[in-house]
Amino acid sequence: MAHAHTDHSAPAILAEVKPVAFPRATLVEKNRSFSWVTEKICGIIEGPTPRWWWIAFAVSGFLASFTVAGIIYLVSTGVGVWGHANPVNWAWDIVNFVFWIGIGHAGTLISAILCLLRQKWRTSINRAAEAMTIFAVVCAAIFPVFHVGRVWFAVLPGYLFPFPNANAIWPNFRSPLEWDVFAVSTYGTVSVLFWYIGLIPDLAILRDRFYRAGDKIRSALYGFFAMGWRGSNRHWSNYEMAYLVLAGISTPLVLSVHTIVSFDFAVSLLPGWHTTIFPPYFVAGAIFSGFGMVLTLMLPLRAIFRLEDLITQYHIDCMCKIILATGTIVGYAYGMEFFIAWYGSNPYEGFAFINRAFGHYAWAYWIMITCNVVTPQFFWFKRIRRNIGLVWILSIFVNVGMWFERFVIIVTSLARDFLPSSWGYYSPSAVEIFTFFGTFGVFGVLFLLFIRFLPIMPMAEIKAVMPQADVHGGHDKH
């Protein structure tokens, strides 16, 4: 306690220090041992495939086939199969893109920003959240790539990435869509690398365990990707530094990605799109929706795999509070947009916002407001944060709300732009709807494969924040 520090040089005030008891939550409950952690997490991979997994996998696979079918139909027929028409030439594809990219942000946020902020509670959720990021980026990338219709133009050298080509031209680097190409591909790459680097020590554990169990094939498979990791502290030293640097660069990266996504809209002149608060507002929204998705995924996992000691009530509290904070920031931005639309006195701008709230798409607007601004306010109350079922339902509301936010921003502004003669109303086609809902299947398939074959929590990191990991034994003086 404090008395240990009251040596001769310390000021008298320290003698008076007598804190009132208000203990902090522990990160791993029930005082578990290191091997308990290893057994618990590896056990999920080593055990037999549970029946629910097969069922979930089949359902996800079926759902994913919608996306595959939708895409095949799109490529073979043309982009006309989507519901786009003047003036809304861009709707669900970009909505879904921004939605999925936003979902991905919580993963990087948990891994990187919380790592920098030394928020140790990140350890039990960061692996799954990072996986979620990668799969979300995959789902996001489907839409911009396929919305061009002739999809080979999106991948041929020279069209999106600068590469000497027969047309002798270069991509237009003044376009925010081109910035998106770089931002999203950088984001995907760095997320995968960050995730993989985190996996290396755990893959080494699996390598050794499968070898011990006599399963040489799986041992070799995990062993190949473990890169010969042997837990050397000389390695840990470089590894931790590399991890910290990656966290350090992922933080500005994750901010920049949604910032650049917001530039897609904000650099234009369209009423409702051009507003300077878009960058932080999009980032806050992305984190908001990302944490919504983390809760949506982790709460069932926690129940199924009995991870209550690793994902504790404290973790859930923290995530709820982040949702509350970012939801409120998003609410502030909604208010600011509305206010400045009036204050700026641009009639088009003013109309755009009135139209959002009371026009043809008002239903979408009020779903957005309800889910994004009202829903998180419930998390002020401890009783609600402790009700896991309710938290789960509210987290789904958050996801829905954020999808509608993008819909509102994109479609209302396009459907009612400057000239009343070119106003329109957009409805999605069946192909679009199926393609979008199918991406949840794609995501599900990838996530189920992840939880079946890879450690869902970083064992090494969890061990490092357990009380036994303290070299001073928790009582020894420095």
Binding site: L156, A168, Y211, S219
Partner: protein
Amino acid sequence: MSNLFPKSANKLPLQILIFIGLTTGIVLAGVTYYATPKYTRVGYAPTQPVPFSHALHAGQLGMDCRYCHSNVEKSGHSNVPTAQTCMNCHNQIKTDSPLLAPVRESYASGNPVPWLRLHQAPDYVYFNHSVHVARGVSCVSCHGQINEMDVVHHAKPLSMGWCLECHRDPAKFVRDPKLVTNLDWKHPGGDAGQLEQGKKFVHDWNIQPPQSCSGCHR
């Protein structure tokens, strides 16, 4: 496990890395070389319904290009001659040649000869022959030495990068418009002479070939 991985396994990652690097390099190089009009289009020489020889007509006989492709100076589209044009001569010479049967048939029926088209700009490219010809871009610049071809083949890639070579620096190519159909003409002063005269033409005629997207993709 080391028992699982022999000592030689330590070299494996480097080998894989080199392999991936080489493969990527080869694929990229391949795409750059093969997936271009220069590779896919140059040399295309289909068999035409009538074995018309440009080498004979334009080369040996010295007929002007514009005798047959009569609209090239006036229209955006350079026409393929009708059977009437052919029959101007061929009602007197080789009137019975079986090779000319499709021409006579066309002349009688009014249905065009089904020539196969070689040089075709995509629909999204706006190309105007008259503008080019009027400002001294010779036929040879785009179609090659047609006057030496028995069977016409695609001589230049007609890719966008290729168009831009001239649009960026027309002085290397423009000549006196009187000489555009003289496919054998080279500037007597060589490259330097061409450049000097070309610069003068570019200046005098205010040639400003567009390089913006909308110049061709309208």
